[in-house]
């Protein structure tokens, strides 16, 4: 029995030490995945907590058919996307409420800086993250898992519960969309 399997079995019995070990072993992976999707450090930390609480509560449903990390990535991705969806809904209802007062739409400036990006790439990466933010959610999830977590297309397909060719297609469309958005961005900023 591997250390990982042993920890999972202990967690199923409600062992707090095992839970602590699991959190410490996977917290950066979960946090980085969520951060890439929600692009906000405070929200990412809260959501990472949510993910581990879900792990503690739902560990009995983990049958070991997939890798534990795949299961964890799946919970993290779903939690982050659900959060974005609810944020979007609130934003929309806020917009509807604000229609009476008149709203002035201003261009959003790239403001998210991922802590893992080197200093010389900081500004460019912020522009790229702004473009990633506008991607449809499944493209965003695939792109984040592949680029930020370094998962292969096969691993991404297991997390997103789809086929490798579907991931290839998602990544190709994500790249096309990003190119289009970056072209618009640089066209605006070169004139």
């Amino acid at each position: 029995m591997t250390n990982e399997t042993e920890l999972i079995e202990q967690l199923k019995r409600g062992d707090e030490t095992a839970f602590k070990a699991i959190v410490e072993q996977w917290q950066d992976m979960v946090y980085n995945t969520i951060l890439g999707i929600v692009q906000n450090e405070t929200e990412a930390e809260d959501l990472a907590q949510d993910v581990f609480i879900k792990v503690f509560e739902k560990i009995s449903s983990f049958k070991g058919d997939s890798k534990f990390s795949t299961w964890l990535y799946r919970i993290a991705t779903t939690t982050a996307l659900d959060h974005l969806r609810s944020k979007k809904r609130k934003k929309r209802s806020g917009f509807l409420q604000g229609l009476g007062g008149g709203s002035d739409e201003k261009e959003e400036i790239p403001d998210f800086h991922h802590p893992g990006v080197s200093l010389d790439n900081k500004e460019r990466a912020a522009v790229l993250f702004k473009a990633i933010e506008a991607l449809p959610e499944n493209q965003k999830a695939a792109y984040t898992l592949h680029k930020l977590e370094g998962l292969s297309y096969r691993d991404v397909s297991e997390v997103l519960n789809t086929t490798v060719s579907a991931v290839e297609s998602l990544m190709s469309r994500a790249n096309q969309n990003l190119r289009k958005q970056l072209e618009e961005y640089y066209n605006r900023h070169y004139r």
């Binding site: 602590k20 959190v23 410490e24 917290q27 950066d28 992976m29 979960v30 946090y31 980085n32 951060l35 930390e45 990472a48 907590q49 581990f52 609480i53 503690f56 991922h114 802590p115 893992g116 990006v117 080197s118 790439n121 460019r124 990466a125 522009v127 790229l128 680029k147 930020l148 977590e149 790249n175 990003l178 190119r179 970056l182 072209e183 640089y186 066209n187 070169y190």
Partner: protein
């Protein structure tokens, strides 16, 4: 180099800006915070509040209150009668006097009465 080529170059460089990105590190006190939240959740109140504040539940409760109010108004409006039964009032006064005469603070002697 014309501006179109320059823009294409910018796009390529921007798309590559996440190459060799390092993994962001979580707060080292993440487990302590998770534990604190789980302990708080365990006392149940947070669950009750979060359940009641769910939009679907809150709307259902609001509709129920409105329905009960509507039914009360509708029902009482149709057969409203004003009773002027003086006998009822005097009965109430007698009863009140009886209750008021009991020394409520004398718990220890209640059994001796």
């Amino acid at each position: 180099m014309d501006s179109k080529e320059k823009i294409q170059q910018e796009i390529e460089q921007t798309l590559q800006s996440l190459e060799n990105v390092k993994r962001a590190e979580a707060n080292p006190f993440l487990f302590t915070r998770i534990k604190a939240r789980m302990d708080k959740k365990a006392n149940g109140w947070e669950w009750v509040l979060s359940f009641v504040s769910r939009p679907a539940i809150a709307i259902a409760i609001l509709l129920l209150v409105m329905a009960v109010n509507g039914w009360a108004l509708w029902g009482s409006g149709s057969d409203e009668t004003i009773t002027t039964d003086n006998g009822g009032i005097s009965e109430l006064a007698n009863e009140y006097n009886n209750v008021a005469s009991v020394n409520n603070y004398d718990y220890e002697n209640l059994t001796n009465e």
